[in-house]
């Protein structure tokens, strides 16, 4: 009971951190700032899935979903950065 309250407090703390990254993803001066803010938000989504699973005692179901999110983040980041490598700096 006490451990679940602690995990929920940490979960709401991470939720309060998200507007900083969202500001960087919306108001970044060029496209690389937006991409790195989006990467950080995706990392926080995986972390929040693991914390939800730990606070609801359903960790076995949510861990597979979080691993899938991580793989999608890796493949998407690699593809977009290989695409942007040959261009000029777009705004």
């Amino acid at each position: 009971m006490n451990e679940q309250l602690f995990i929920r407090i940490i979960f709401f703390g991470i939720t309060a951190l998200l507007p900083f990254y969202l500001y960087r993803a919306v108001r970044g001066p060029n496209v690389f700032d937006r991409l790195i803010g989006l990467n950080a938000i995706s990392t926080k989504a995986i972390l929040m899935l693991v914390l939800i699973g730990a606070s609801m005692n359903q960790l076995d179901m949510l861990l597979d979903i979080s691993l899938g999110y991580g793989l999608l983040n890796l493949v998407g980041g690699l593809a977009v950065s290989k695409y942007l490598e040959k261009k000029e700096v777009p705004l």
Partner: protein, 101 residues
């Protein structure tokens, strides 16, 4: 187990807070990628290890350590590839203004 895992989770949250402040305050893409690539990875790994220790020794713990191992390689790779793409496409690094001699 909570005595062992609560300092890990609190230290991870502290590193995530530092990464968020660095993403908001630093002046350039390269410095921001330094803040978001290094500190964010460390905070995520600490929080995941703390949750795995809090959960006890069950079969799901192995899967949490698989996610930890995946993040230990995946997050610096994405940051490095973005950094290299920015450098090759000609983004100038931020430098301090030179003082008048």
């Amino acid at each position: 187990m909570i005595l062992l895992s609560a300092p890990l989770i609190l230290a991870g949250f502290f590193f995530l807070l530092i990464a968020a402040i660095g993403a908001l305050r630093l002046p350039d893409f390269y410095t921001r990628s330094h803040a978001l690539g290094v500190t964010d990875t460390l905070g995520t790994l600490l929080i995941l290890t703390g949750v795995a220790l809090l959960h006890g020794f069950r079969p799901e713990t192995v899967k949490i350590f698989l996610i930890v191992l995946f993040f230990y390689f995946a997050n610096p790779v994405i940051t490095h590839v973005l950094f290299r793409a920015a450098l090759r496409s000609g983004l100038k690094p931020w430098t301090a203004k030179k003082e008048q001699p």
